[in-house]
């Protein structure tokens, strides 16, 4: 089995109506897929991912822009981008000193189909050991899973772009415009080993510093509170994200078992010579349907809960990074002050020290001002996203439980009526 071949694009699949079972394209998923952020879509700049193509080891996203801004040559245009180019854009924001005072929208995670591919591979190898129906069924299941992961990665890349487009300052960034408009490949090679190592050490230094900086009490109450809050929140959301993943995986496993039970009951139903044959067939049919609902429950919990937590894990990290940058600026400012005092005492290079101190002061003030607004916006976004997702989660859980209940009631009605 040579799976996966160039996987047909999401657009094409949507048209084919490939989802015969669980409806992955529920109402919430259509339109701007900004699942975890409540963004005001602005007519002056609208960005979305209109299509995506999965090839052997990469995914190609079609980034579609609609804009009335004068900077662009056209009002509507599309380009094809890969994951590395998104990362390049994100990193360019992080490295830009001008943006030190903003929460940089977190980079989308790398598309990871490895697990799904492995499963498809195993299925291919085990083809001989199961019946044709079972094989077809499992293949459909895995294809649906692959499609779900695919849609998720598209959504996460899209959310990143939408966040940038919604940000009053970042949306004007030149690299962003190049990303959106430049028709050719950005030739952004992935980081080589040396650069990856540098990154690693940068992170080590940052976390060591982070510990240092976290220990220093801030004079500003607002920031002191935010620091304490974010440090704890980040840890907790990380834990909740991991635990929700585990819970959802168990749910999927249980649904798979019910699938197998349904198959065996079906076989029993076709084989049995007694009145049990009709009975088994009816129960098998019931389990088939409830299994689909259980799989849908797991998928919805994944979208509304697990993804939400994962996203805010990344956002809270980005917020922490902002606080860290501000702390660094504060330390620089304090050092500049000390240098100025020293210079004054020695009466040497005073002007230089004064200018340096002034620059540091301005930088710190600028960061503090924008950081305050950013953190307030972060809270607003977070509360709104949680509200939306928790409400939708509850509504979906109710919908599915009621669906299950109805199936069970009608089946029991038939089974009891016949005896």
């Amino acid at each position: 089995m040579t799976y996966p071949q160039p996987f047909r694009s999401v657009g094409a699949m949507m048209q084919e109506g490939l989802d015969d079972g669980p409806d992955f394209l529920s109402e919430e998923d259509r339109g701007p897929r900004a699942v975890n952020v409540d963004l005001q879509t602005d007519a002056t700049l609208q960005v979305d991912i209109s299509d995506a193509l999965s090839e052997r080891d990469k995914v190609k996203f079609t980034v579609h822009t609609k804009s009335s801004l004068p900077n662009f040559k056209q009002n509507e245009f599309s380009v094809v981008r890969q994951h590395e180019e998104f990362i390049w854009l994100h990193d360019s924001f992080v490295e830009n000193e001008e943006y030190a005072g903003y929460i940089i929208p977190p980079a989308p995670p790398r598309p990871d189909f490895d697990a799904s591919r492995e499963k498809l591979q195993k299925l291919g190898e085990g083809e001989g050991s199961m019946t044709k129906e079972e094989f077809t069924k499992m293949k459909q299941e895995l294809e649906a899973e692959y499609l779900a992961i695919f849609k998720k990665t598209v959504a996460m890349h899209e959310v990143f772009l939408c966040r940038v487009a919604a940000h009053p300052v970042l949306r004007k960034d030149l690299n962003f415009h190049v990303f959106l408009e430049y028709g050719q490949d950005l030739s952004v090679r992935g980081k080589n080993k040396k650069e990856k190592l540098e990154d690693f050490f940068k992170n080590v230094v940052k976390s060591a510093d982070g510990v240092l900086v976290a220990g220093v009490k801030d004079v500003d109450d607002f920031f002191e509170h935010e620091k304490t809050f974010l440090l704890e929140y980040h840890t907790r959301v990380k834990d909740a994200s991991a635990k929700s993943d585990r819970m959802i995986r168990s749910h999927k496993n249980a649904a798979d078992d019910i699938n197998r039970i349904a198959s065996t009951l079906y076989t029993l139903g076709t084989q049995d010579g007694t009145e049990l044959c009709k009975f088994f067939l009816k129960v098998s049919e019931l389990f088939e349907k409830t299994r689909k609902i259980e799989a849908r429950v797991a998928a919805d919990e994944d979208l509304k809960l697990a993804d939400l937590l994962k996203y805010y894990l990344r956002e809270s990290q980005a917020a922490k990074d902002l606080l860290y940058r501000r702390s660094r600026a504060l330390v620089d400012y304090e050092n500049a002050n000390k240098a100025l005092d020293k210079a004054r005492a020695k009466n040497r290079d005073v002007l230089q020290a004064e200018t340096s101190q002034q620059i540091c002061c301005n930088k710190f003030d600028k960061i503090s001002e924008s950081a305050k607004q950013e953190l307030i916006d972060f809270k607003t976004r977070r509360v709104s996203a949680f509200r939306k997702n928790l409400v939708e989660l509850a509504e979906l859980e109710l919908k599915h439980a009621k669906g299950n209940l109805q199936l069970l009631q009608s089946c029991l009605g038939v089974l009891k009526g016949n005896t």
């Binding site: 509170h225 809050f229 704890e232 929140y233 907790r236 959301v237 834990d239 909740a240 635990k243 929700s244 585990r246 819970m247 995986r249 168990s250 749910h251 496993n253 249980a254 078992d257 019910i258 197998r260 039970i261 065996t264 009951l265 076989t267 029993l268 084989q271 049995d272 010579g273 007694t274 009145e275 049990l276 009975f279 129960v283 019931l286 409830t290 809270k379 977070r382 509360v383 709104s384 949680f386 509200r387 928790l390 409400v391 989660l393 509850a394 509504e395 859980e397 109710l398 439980a401 009621k402 299950n404 209940l405 069970l408 009631q409 089946c411 029991l412 089974l415 009891k416 005896t419």
Partner: protein
């Protein structure tokens, strides 16, 4: 028809500080006194309609081995006893959850076993069974290791192998037996498969329960650290819902096990007993055939002796032939009897099977229904909390 109902209770008995024995109290209720019981038993006459005795697990195994040795070879499907667990965790005096669960599983299994046994019209008349149900003291079953359910299965499988190795294949004149054997083989295959999937489901649902519990705790912690008041409260409520879900999943896993898994497991074991019974029929036929062959040989020998002048040997040969002729008729009767018994047994078994599966699966579906109703309650209570954020 008899409608004896068996209920089993558990009680611990402490013999010493180190040894703790599990006793099972059997309460047997009969709606009417069966006259056949009064006739058969040489023990005390049943005056009561309820009688209760205390038994150990090994006593049940002993009962089964006695019944199996008496009735399997004449074609009765003797219900198999519950298996001895590979590990037995009995903590002295400890009331921890896992050993309680173990005891409960065993209790249920013994109850089902005994109910099946007393439902059998032939077995119910057996004096050993009656003694087991009625006698306050019971001779301790000797070396129950060898008599354990697994041990007996091994013996039966050995017999099956011996049958397979026989050089003369049985000429099956009766297609009914062939069909039924095939049917039971197919059924066995599917039930084993089903059993495997159900066990996997039980395992995964228990896992789900555990993971839901951990998530609930994590969500509560997240709620605590959230500084927006309404969101914080909603997260705590979410944690509470998930705690309730954890309990639901755990309960459902228990039902998956006690209703579905045990039902299918019981029938997999019953099918082994059926297989053994079919094999005994083949053995009976074989014995009859062998006796016929021996008779033939003796007749040929007698014919040879007719020519020689050995009147003593001739008489001996004639006597042996007479004996063998009787044996051959007996062999034929035995074969016809076991075939007749098996037909009756299988018919009864199939009827019971239909009833068992229907009743148990309906019961199981009702537990699923109840689960969903509870889920709806919990999420309906949560929804306004989520909407109340901000």
């Amino acid at each position: 028809c008899n409608k004896m109902i068996i209920t089993i209770y558990t009680s611990h008995i402490y013999k010493s500080i180190k040894t703790c024995h599990m006793h099972f109290k059997i309460l047997a209720r009969t709606p009417l006194i069966l006259p056949s019981l009064l006739l058969q038993t040489s023990l005390s006459v049943f005056r009561l309609q309820d009688f209760s005795v205390k038994r150990r697990f090994s006593d049940f195994l002993g009962l089964h081995s006695k019944l199996a040795s008496k009735y399997l070879h004449i074609g009765c499907i003797v219900p198999p006893a519950p298996r001895r667990a590979l590990w037995v965790r009995v903590k002295v005096g400890k009331e921890d959850q896992s050993s309680n669960e173990f005891v409960e599983k065993r209790r249920c299994a013994l109850e089902r076993y005994l109910m099946r046994t007393v439902k059998h019209p032939v077995l119910l008349k057996d004096p050993d069974l009656l003694q087991f149900l009625e006698s306050p003291e019971l001779a301790r079953a000797v070396s129950t290791q060898a008599l354990s359910g697994a041990g007996l299965m091994r013996m039966m499988n050995k017999a099956a192998d011996a049958v397979n190795k026989m050089t003369i294949r049985m000429n099956e004149s009766d297609t009914w037996f062939e069909e039924k054997q095939q049917h039971f083989e197919n059924l066995d295959l599917q039930l084993r498969k089903l059993h495997g999937s159900i066990e996997s489901l039980v395992c995964h649902r228990k896992e789900l329960s555990l993971n839901t519990c951990q998530f609930a705790r994590s969500a509560a912690m997240l709620g605590n650290s959230e500084d927006h008041t309404a969101l914080s409260r909603a997260l705590s409520q979410l944690a509470e819902v998930e705690e309730k879900m954890e309990a639901l999943h755990n309960e459902q896993a228990n039902q998956d096990f006690s209703l579905l898994s045990e039902l299918v497991g019981d029938y997999v074991r019953l099918l082994s007993a059926i297989k053994a019974v079919f094999e005994h029929r083949v053995k009976t036929w074989q014995k009859w055939q062998d006796t016929q062959i021996l008779l033939q040989k003796k007749r040929e020998a007698e014919a040879k002796l007719q020519i020689t002048n050995k009147p003593d040997k001739l008489q001996q040969a004639k006597d042996e032939i007479k004996e063998l002729e009787l044996k051959v008729s007996q062999g034929e009767r035995d074969f016809e009897q076991i075939s007749k018994t098996i037909r009756k047994e299988v018919t009864r078994f199939e009827k019971e099977r239909v009833k068992d599966f229907k009743e148990t699966i309906v019961k199981y579906l009702e537990t699923l229904l109840h689960s969903q109703q509870q889920m709806i309650k919990y999420w309906e209570a949560f929804l306004p909390e989520a909407k109340a954020i901000s």
